[in-house]
């Protein structure tokens, strides 16, 4: 996934994710809902999970962010859909380790997608403990507002 996004040219797979993002929208009666929110820019990713017997049966996400966020959200949601929670967490770690290979903006976008997924898992755990939390929100440390010095690093 990271290689695709870093490549010089957009390929058909990425164009397809742009034209038809996978798992985009809301889920009815979710097990967990999480949000990664950038207070500075107002951008967010909201992630919905439906979990049965520790398996991620259904996922969906929505964002008001940039196209990198859409593509990463579309790809990541496909990765974890139908898998176990543990494998979903592993996917987060693996992607986290590879962030250094992405541009500064893509790193922030990816972090927002991963954070929203983690927030959805936390929300699900809170719901299981009978907490009346509609969604779990995590504020992003890094803003999607790229500074000029970050651009120069890219």
């Amino acid at each position: 996934m990271e290689q695709d996004l870093q490549s010089e040219e957009l390929n058909e797979e990425i164009i397809e994710h742009l034209m038809h993002p996978k798992n985009y929208g809301k889920l009815d009666e979710p097990s967990g809902v999480g949000v990664g929110h950038d207070e500075k820019t107002g951008e967010y990713v909201i992630f919905y999970l439906k979990i049965e017997s520790e398996n991620i049966q259904e996922v969906s996400f929505a964002t008001n962010g940039c196209q990198d966020t859409v593509v990463l959200g579309s790809m990541f949601s496909e990765m974890v859909k139908g898998d176990t929670i543990e494998n979903g967490k592993d996917a987060v770690e693996k992607m986290d380790q590879r962030l250094s290979g992405m541009t500064a903006q893509q790193q922030v976008c990816a972090e927002m997608v991963l954070t929203s997924f983690i927030a959805a898992l936390i929300n699900r755990e809170n719901r299981l403990k009978n907490a009346s939390e509609e969604m779990h929100v995590i504020k992003m440390k890094e803003s999607c507002e790229i500074k000029p010095e970050d651009e120069e690093k890219q």
């Binding site: 010089e8 957009l10 742009l18 034209m19 929208g25 949000v35 820019t41 196209q67």
Partner: protein
Amino acid sequence: MIENTLYKSKHRLWLNILFASFAIEDETIKSSLYDFAMIEFRHMKWLGQALRDADTVYNYDRDNMMLYKHESNFDLLRFVLGEIKNTQALYDTSVLGGRMSTDEHYFIHHITALLDDNANDAKISAFDMHRALPNKTLDPKQTDALTIFLFEESYKEYELILVYAYMQNYTEDRLHFDIFQDLIDESHFHLKSFGNMMAKMGILGLPRELHEMTYKITDIEKFVKDGIAEEEAAKEMCRQLAADINDEDLSPFFDFINFQENYHIALMEKLL
């Protein structure tokens, strides 16, 4: 009784007719479909007002709407015709219900007539990802920059149209109402320009659905300030794209869009 299901159907119908107008190359058919789409958008506006007056909450959900990759004008026109006919069953006997119904009777008549003449059929290349503009030679980097720009900005214009329409419907302030209308009109023009360009490049896709976190605004001042920052960013994207593409037709167009953003910012500042 007017239900949110009707609003959702009208939203989908507006998009279906609008994107059909982008996808079809024939300028006469394109123009009539675009006019019909704009009438559908006005229906949405009036319906939103009626729902507000009836204290009925509505939203911008589209229920996993897809933009099917139709391969010919007739495939697409038959699909649009079916969608219009399906919506007819949802209207009530109110004046607004009557207006929407009679408008669409004419749309059905017009599209049926188009389908009666085989000369109106043609292949559609709006979805085939060929990523080239007629009579233009862009290198891969320029093509990618233009592709990303069109996806970013077509979504943003769609988002702005709906967010401003929602805010316009719930404002009590006449000045704000007028400013929102100007901004909506401007975004319609930009969406039309970008949508037609995406179709020419074979990358036409629906803007993604808006989540209510995007349009249910609680802090208008922060919303406007963030919006001004986004307009500034869009200006820079246009300027950069015009410079990168360096084409005698395309560069002036993106500069033209860039300069229009200045007045959008001035309008938005009046909301503060």
